[in-house]
């Protein structure tokens, strides 16, 4: 096994809301090794993005990490001070957000925004920073970078904005890139182009990457391993081939049954039955899928559910795996 880049252990995040404490992420564990692209897949509200924001210390004021360790580069990010963490963000670990245009300052030239990030982490003479900025654009295969650098976000297409966003995230050669739904809102062709570029860059630089998406097909095409999340819990963590060949968790199986590419016809598409539980409930069961699960047994209500290895590298959090 190659070198571990990121290791998340037992991460829990709670939000204070009017309706009580919302336990958005509960006991999440996963790891990323060098050169690997890990997919985190789940419905909206499954805690994927909250997990990513928690890693980077970007949660908003209503949220707090209640437990866990996030080891990156030999240090626990959750114990780092704001200043130290801020020094790492954008330099050692970067994130690309969904909705690329909104993630750019609307009244600053995109090139200047990339230059801001380079100047922050790697100060130097303006000419050198500009050269690096143009190089970052070129690496994202942006034609005519000198001209594009002077453009404002609203003058560029969505795909181009996302490439700018990725160029910005990669400008300081981070070791880990988190991409949170990077292709939402892009058309299918642009989506493939952006994802290809992302994958190639990660492979070439020997970085690690986390791709957060609700799109199983996208994850299966670009990831090495997939972590499936449901209602704030990791239910399954497996290599892509193993997961698709034999999903062990009833939720994953249901998700795969709902994938358009697998269905013979539109009538054969089966949605996952029920909906995730309200995460503000005080009586959430140990397995948060159990109330939607057709295989539920009294055993499922006993506490102490953990991810267990069912096959090499294939772990599942289910008392009665498939």
């Amino acid at each position: 096994m190659s070198e571990a880049l990121l290791s998340v252990r037992d991460l829990s995040v709670a939000f204070r809301t009017r309706g009580g404490t919302l336990r958005a992420v509960e006991g999440v564990s996963f790891g990323v090794v060098k050169g690997e692209i890990l997919g985190i897949v789940g419905e909206s509200g499954s805690g994927k993005s909250v997990t990513a924001l928690a890693l980077l210390g970007l949660l908003d004021a209503a949220a707090h990490v209640t437990s866990g360790r996030v080891v990156f580069g030999g240090q626990d990010l959750l114990l780092l001070g704001q200043a130290a963490l801020n020094g790492l963000r954008g330099a050692e670990l970067s994130i690309v957000f969904q909705n690329p245009r909104a993630a750019l300052n609307p009244i600053r030239a995109v090139g200047a925004q990339i230059a801001d990030v380079i100047a922050r982490h790697d100060p130097g003479p303006a000419a050198a920073i500009r050269a690096r900025m143009l190089d970052a654009l070129r690496q994202m295969r942006i034609a005519d970078p000198e001209h594009r650098a002077a453009a404002l976000p609203h003058e560029l297409s969505g795909g181009l904005c996302q490439r700018i966003g990725i160029a910005m995230a990669l400008a300081c050669s981070p070791r880990l890139l988190i991409a949170d739904e990077p292709t939402t809102g892009l058309d299918v062709t642009t989506q493939a182009a952006v994802m290809d570029l992302l994958r190639d860059t990660v492979r070439r630089r020997g970085m690690g990457a986390v791709l957060i998406t609700h799109d199983l097909a996208l994850a299966s095409a670009y990831c090495d391993r997939i972590v499936v999340m449901h209602a704030g819990q990791v239910v399954e963590d497996a290599p892509v081939a193993s997961l698709f060949a034999r999903p062990r968790h009833p939720y994953t199986a249901a998700l795969l049954g709902g994938m358009p590419s697998r269905a013979e016809s539109i009538d054969a598409l089966v949605p996952v039955p029920g909906s995730p539980p309200d995460l503000r409930r005080a009586d959430l069961p140990p397995c948060r899928f159990s109330e939607r699960c057709g295989r539920r047994q009294p055993l499922c209500a006993t506490p102490g559910l953990r991810l267990g290895e069912q096959a090499p590298g294939h772990r599942v959090a289910c008392r009665l795996p498939l």
Binding site: L58, A102, A103
Partner: protein, 339 residues
């Protein structure tokens, strides 16, 4: 600079409209200026008619208007009946006092309200946030003549810290040699520090009174605008890229939040021009506001029309500045280059 040209061109019909409206409005006022001007219970109809003829008030309204317009084009704003001086000369003499007061109050308001609104947005529920809300409520609910009198009562009458509210300087003091017409600037230019201190002491209370009225909307807009921008995706992205807080707040957030702030600045400046009339009266400030109020009470048409015209010109000028500032802040508009 096509925007500038277009905007300047658009000023012409606005000014013309102002001229017409003020002319008609002053003629609609109750009372007969000729009778008022005769100012004697023994004045008979013939005397009044003679005065009316002398003032040109016997002519048909449209003729009066054309005469007025012709005079305006020559830069002649007419003659004040009360002071006996040309209105243009009166206004020029009094304008620096008003301008100094307004600018001092404006600067005070901006220096207090913008940082306060920013601090309130950056730390919600903190002391600045509560202060912002308190000032907002107080500023909205206290009219300037009430807050002015209240300040005089407290700081002059009760505590005796502030000087007597009798204008720009002590009536027995010699005004500084006029260069800018602003006593604060003129005393400094003359190297007269004691004079500067005296002028500053006089201007504090009226300026604070006017500033209070402006701080409320400005701080509220700054806070709301900053909150909106701070919650946007690109600020989160800037944080995710490790940019320093200072850079994020001042360069990324504030510049984006500036558009509504600048627009509000224009509005409160215009509002201050109006508030001037009351504040000058309360503090016996010898500015154009007091002058216009006296003229209005004395049915003296020409100064009122001149005052309204000057104010309208300032309004238009301020709005023009606001437009240009917005164009400079927001490159998306591409207003300064030809698009």
């Amino acid at each position: 600079m096509s925007l500038l040209a277009r905007r300047l061109f658009g000023v012409v019909p606005t000014l013309l409209g102002v001229v017409v409206v003020t002319f008609v409005l002053t003629r609609l006022l109750p009372g007969d200026p000729a009778a008022f001007f005769a100012n004697s219970p023994t004045a008979d109809a013939a005397t009044i008619a003679a005065i009316r003829q002398k003032l040109g008030l016997d002519l048909p309204l449209w003729q009066q208007f054309l005469l007025y317009l012709g005079a305006l084009l020559r830069g002649d704003l007419g003659q004040s009946i009360v002071t006996g001086q040309p209105v243009a000369a009166d206004l020029l003499r009094l304008l620096p006092a008003s301008a100094e007061l307004t600018l001092a109050a404006f600067a005070m308001a901006v220096l207090v309200a913008v940082p306060l609104g920013m601090a309130a947005a950056l730390r919600r529920g903190s002391l600045p946030d509560h202060l912002c809300r308190l000032l907002g409520t107080a500023g909205v609910s206290l009219p300037t003549f009430v807050s002015g009198l209240l300040l005089i009562h407290l700081f002059y009458y009760r505590f005796g810290i502030a000087p007597e509210p009798i204008g720009r300087i002590d009536p027995f003091a010699i005004p500084p040699p006029a260069m800018t017409g602003f006593f604060l600037a003129d005393t400094l230019l003359a190297g007269d520090l004691r004079g500067f201190a005296a002028a500053a002491r006089q201007i504090v209370l009226p300026a604070v009174t006017m500033a209070l009225f402006a701080i409320a909307p400005l701080a509220r807009v700054t806070r709301a605008s900053m909150l909106g921008v701070l919650g946007s995706d690109f600020i989160r992205a800037a944080r995710a890229n490790g940019l320093r807080r200072r850079k994020i707040v001042l360069s990324y957030a504030l510049r984006n939040a500036l558009l509504p702030i600048v627009t509000t600045l224009g509005m409160i400046f215009s509002g201050m021009l109006g508030a001037n009339v009351l504040v000058e009266r309360v503090f016996a400030w010898p500015g154009v506001g007091s002058y216009a109020l006296d003229a209005l009470v004395g049915l003296d048409y020409a100064p009122v029309q001149g005052f309204v015209l000057v104010m309208a010109g300032l309004f238009i000028g301020v709005n023009l500045l606001v437009d240009l500032a917005c164009a400079a802040i927001d490159p998306r508009a591409r207003l300064l280059s030809d698009a």
